[in-house]
């Protein structure tokens, strides 16, 4: 019996009706009667000593159950890799929007009313507005206790400074190679921090049961991670904590760490038996909860006159804001991939995560790779200009291929994607060879830019996934994983993989939603574009396990060896005589003979996966193999610039990515196009604007503008398929990658159009206008 493969088809998302009609219930749609509501007082200063906080009047307000400050939990420190953050500021606030006090009341309105009655005194302190300021001699030290914070070994803080992590890459001899390179260019490139702006603001609803167990519903990408971190921060064992992740309304990394849960849990523990809801407004979500890091960087590149890169020497300074959160690992991930997807024999890189008085930073789509890509791609643009070489040719010439080594010295294996093929597709899509710059009849300038990217998941060496496969009476299969749905569509990809492996109609396969640490199989985190890969591998093993069980049961009534059986099309049958078989519905819950005797019992397939062959990095040289699988690609844009006033838009955006194997083309395109759109926003507008004391001036969607549908360019998403040998059906991760090259490609095109190198983002019309005017004078 042969079946045509369903891989590569694009069935409708199984959650489309609920999502498009608004019927889907997210975490904050699951508030039970009797829930208490928390409201938070946020710091109006970026850096200040806290004086007296008087909550007496708030406590007296009708409906208020409690008011709390940092002093209520004097020893609790929260963190991901490093515990550096109190649940409420203690003694000092370190960023504008930091939670200072919280009121718990019977309803939200009472909590908000009472919040106004809290009197808090602050004495403002000088605020650090950039990594370079924070690294300057004499800068205030934001975390004097840095040396005593609990942390994991891979993070390397420098106590006595504002450096939360320093990762080093020393490959070959960059100094010597630069000294002997005939062509050397150097540039500095930067951008401010910003926000994820996911559609769903963060929320946590915690209940401390009378049985002493803590249950937390959270808009999280990482229910198991939150359980572990809560256990560490609160001193409760994991067995007493349950974390439930409903579908999430967009994460982009911003919900991958620990966020509102610890404070919600601490409050819940004060009110046993009553749920406590802590929900962000949009404004709090933007400023008080973490956003993405900013960057200051310096890159030197040495090359031959023919354009072969000899060496890179770089310094990437990540603006982590007040707390380290995920940003310490973001800076580490940037070190792993620091050169971009190019063969660079000699590399010297220091990537630093630096404390400032900005809102703190966490993971963001791309995880350090947008930052490193923007810096290295801009440096390659300087090199191309110096050499008088087409920037596409320069990239093609230096493209990383199997056999080359990464900055950490890991060899790119034969599973490595085909970057030259990706470059070729973008070249075609943008009609690159027809010319990169043209002046239109109305005076506007059209220009093109290209950038390449690579990314491997920045994950612990023991990152895991698991899956179980069970069956219903009708023979249909249900896959359970610990993956969280956050819009990415992994469930539909997993469904296709299971249906393919079982040879079953898609309608007969379901994937369970709602990850729950009490019920779901363990899964590291839904992040790093690894869910389809890892949970896909676990699902395949679960299918194989279930199929073996099905064959064992069926072999008795079919009176044949198990190895003669095959499962496909909803049946188990003899391979060489397919008419002899049984429908799965008669086997998966046990087979019943005509006389009533039964054998077997419910089939439950088990599958698991753990990252293969990963190792840590040497603290002095970075040597190691921290990257699982490398997804590579190229991106290009066409832009139009009005030189009179800087008016600027992206008119075309093309991405070609080697995804190994395309499982669900429509979802893949959705991820890539969405990522490109996000990259356009990143490059052209999305960033915080700070006042002179580092207060956020645009902390609402009124002032912080995202790309709108009407501004989207024409998109091209192309896929190259060089199979990933160990990926499910050859697939590799693709969720984040489409954003990585966009800022570099857009900056290159804008620079070409404007006739001046643009080394800062965002590229607003005024920024362009000013740069052109300065270049003229």
């Amino acid at each position: 019996m042969t079946r045509t493969s369903q891989l590569g088809s694009s069935p409708e998302r199984s959650d489309a009706p609920a999502k498009t009609s608004g019927a889907l219930r997210y975490t904050d749609d699951r508030v039970r009667p009797g829930t208490l509501h928390a409201a938070v007082l946020y710091s109006p200063h970026a850096h200040a000593d806290i004086g007296r906080i008087d909550c007496a009047a708030a406590l007296a307000f009708p409906g208020v159950r409690g008011a709390f400050t940092g002093a209520d939990w004097p020893d609790v420190l929260i963190g991901l890799y490093m515990g550096d953050k109190p649940p409420l500021a203690r003694g000092r606030v370190r960023y504008y929007g930091e939670p200072v006090a919280v009121v718990v009341a019977d309803d939200e309105a009472a909590a908000l009313e009472a919040l106004r009655l809290i009197r808090a005194d602050f004495t403002p302190l000088p605020a650090l507005g950039s990594p370079r300021e924070a690294l300057a001699p004499g800068a205030p030290i934001l975390h004097p206790d840095l040396g005593s914070y609990r942390r994991i070994a891979a993070i390397l803080p420098e106590p006595g400074s504002n450096v939360a992590n320093r990762s080093r890459i020393r490959k070959g001899d960059a100094d010597a190679a630069l000294a002997s390179s005939p062509v050397v260019v150097e540039g500095e490139f930067s951008f401010p921090p910003g926000d994820h702006a996911a559609m769903e603001p963060r929320v946590a609803i915690a209940e401390f049961g009378l049985d002493g167990r803590l249950t937390v519903g959270s808009s999280t990408q990482s229910p198991f991670g939150v359980r572990t971190l809560l256990s560490k921060a609160l001193g409760l064992p994991e067995r007493d904590i349950e974390v439930i992740a409903a579908p999430v309304g967009g994460g982009f990394g911003g919900k991958a760490g620990i966020q509102l849960e610890p404070l919600a849990c601490l409050l819940a523990m004060r009110f046993p038996g009553r749920p406590v809801r802590l929900a962000n407004t949009r404004e709090a979500d933007m400023v008080s909860s973490p956003g993405r890091p900013g960057l200051q960087s310096r890159v030197r590149v040495g090359a031959t006159r023919e354009g072969m890169i000899q060496a890179m020497d770089m310094e990437l300074l990540f603006d982590s804001g007040a707390y380290a959160d995920y940003a310490v690992n973001v800076s580490r991930a940037a070190a792993v991939a620091c050169t971009g997807p190019y063969n660079v024999p000699n590399v010297k890189a220091d990537t630093l995560c630096v404390y400032t008085n900005h809102p703190f930073a966490t993971a963001f789509r791309g995880f350090g790779h947008i930052e490193l890509s923007y810096a290295t791609e801009r440096a390659l643009d300087l090199l191309a200009a110096r050499l008088g070489m087409d920037p596409l040719e320069l990239r093609l010439k230096n493209a990383a291929r199997p056999g080359h080594t990464t900055p950490t010295g890991a060899t790119l294996d034969p599973n490595t994607g085909d970057l030259p093929a990706c470059i070729a597709r973008v070249r075609e899509r943008l009609d690159w060879d027809a010319g990169r710059r043209a002046v239109l009849p109305d005076g506007r300038i059209r220009a093109k830019g290209i950038a390449c990217f690579w990314k491997a998941p920045a994950i612990p060496t023991f990152t895991d996934a698991a899956a179980t496969l069970s069956f219903a009476e009708d023979g249909s299969a249900v896959l359970a994983t610990g993956v969280v749905e956050l819009g990415q569509g992994s469930f539909d990809g997993l469904r296709l993989i299971v249906a393919e492996a079982l040879g079953m109609d898609l309608a007969m396969v379901r994937v369970l939603r709602d990850a729950d640490t009490d019920r779901s199989p363990h899964d590291w985190t839904t992040a790093a574009s690894r869910s389809l890969f890892m949970a896909g591998r676990a699902a395949l093993e679960a299918v194989a396990d279930a199929v073996a069980q099905i064959k064992r049961v069926a072999s008795a009534p079919l009176r044949c060896p198990e190895e003669d059986l095959e499962v496909s099309g909803g049946r188990v049958f003899l391979r060489d005589d397919p008419e002899q078989g049984l429908p799965l519905s008669t086997v998966v819950l046990g087979y019943v003979y005509p006389n009533g005797n039964a054998i077997g019992g419910p089939v439950i397939g088990r599958g698991r996966y753990i990252a293969r062959g990963l190792s840590g990095m040497d603290p002095d040289t970075g040597e190691g193999r921290p990257g699982l699988e490398w997804t590579m690609g190229a991106e290009g844009v066409e832009v139009e610039l009005d030189p009179r006033d800087g008016g600027f838009r992206v008119t075309k955006a093309a991405c070609a990515m080697d995804v190994g194997r395309l499982i669900h083309p429509a979802l893949a395109r959705g991820q890539v196009v969405g990522a490109m759109g996000m990259g356009i926003g990143y490059a052209t507008r999305e960033a915080f604007v700070f006042d002179s004391r580092q207060g956020v001036q645009n902390g609402s969607l009124r002032d912080y503008k995202l790309l709108r549908y009407g501004e989207e360019p024409e998109y091209f998403a192309d896929f190259v398929e060089t199979p990933q040998g160990d990926g499910p059906y050859g697939a590799r991760g693709l969720g984040e990658q489409g954003i990585i090259g966009m800022p570099g490609a857009i900056a290159q095109a804008a620079s070409l159009a404007a006739g001046v190198e643009l080394n800062e983002l965002p590229l607003t019309p005024e920024h362009l206008w000013r740069a052109m005017r300065e270049a003229r004078s």
Partner: protein, 264 residues
């Protein structure tokens, strides 16, 4: 957020509306409600105890043409006025404000009398020397006072309304709507944003009428024999987090020259 206790009142006449306003301390007139909602969300101290919905008042929701004049009810949604299209410059100006979904809620009276400094919809009305019909509570036992006045006379950076005064409608000569006009609007980045500058230009027999919003902290207008003179009369723009004064000045020059080109 909105207070837990809030009265909602929906009078059928303008006289009733102002009487209800007098009877409720902290009452606000409600048409689209976008600003009330935003302010209440943003600040717990935004005072509102009662909302007086004026959309049932016929004369505040009418759009009519009679005796050579166009009359626009103050409670009309911006999108209804833009879709009608009787005053093309107003249509163009309105279509620059917010997005379609929001314009379905925003009223023209709210846009003009609201707290935000932009009030773009007022520009075409100021240029047209529109009349405004309003009603205010009478003092003491006196009946409510209706009056019609020139918009320009009570506009100084913003509309100068008396406590409890409710705008019912605006009217302007249709002949003005037929004059040659041009509209330009620029923002910091994408189109759905407050203007760095919105420019309305009308050519009449004696020269040009020019109105600008966004560049100064309030809408401004001037007339001049030529465009440059009118621009000069508006004074220097201001800077804020969206753009510097310098950039706004440069934008206004390019916008004006392209608008003048369109009218030449």
């Amino acid at each position: 957020m909105m207070p837990n206790e809030l009265r909602y009142l929906r009078p059928d006449s303008a006289e009733e509306a102002v009487a209800v306003w007098s009877a409720h301390t902290g009452a606000r007139y409600l048409a689209g409600g976008t600003e009330i909602h935003t302010m209440a969300r943003r600040s717990a101290s935004y005072p509102v105890s009662a909302l007086i919905d004026i959309k049932r008042i016929a004369e505040a929701s009418a759009l009519s043409i009679a005796k050579g004049r166009l009359t626009l009810g103050a409670a009309l949604p911006l999108s209804a006025i833009a879709d009608d299209g009787a005053f093309p410059l107003l249509t163009a100006t309105i279509r620059g404000i917010a997005d379609r979904t929001t314009r379905n809620r925003l009223s023209i009276g709210g846009n003009i009398a609201g707290m935000l400094p932009y009030r773009e919809a007022i520009l075409p009305l100021l240029l047209a020397d529109a009349l405004c019909l309003s009603i205010a509570p009478g003092s003491g036992s006196e009946p409510p006072l209706r009056r019609e006045w020139r918009l320009r006379e009570r506009f100084d950076k913003r509309l100068l309304l008396d406590p409890g005064e409710l705008i019912l409608s605006f009217s302007l000569p249709l002949a003005f709507a037929a004059l040659p006009w041009s509209h330009r609007r620029r923002t910091r980045t994408g189109p759905v944003d407050y203007p760095l500058a919105t420019l309305c230009l009308v050519r009449e027999s004696g020269g040009f009428l020019l109105g600008v919003s966004g560049a100064h902290p309030y809408p401004v207008f001037a007339s001049g024999a030529d465009g440059a003179a009118a621009l000069k009369a508006l004074g220097a723009p201001k800077g804020d987090q969206r753009a510097t004064a310098e950039y706004r000045a440069a934008l206004m020059e390019t916008m004006l020259s392209s608008a003048l080109e369109e009218l030449s």
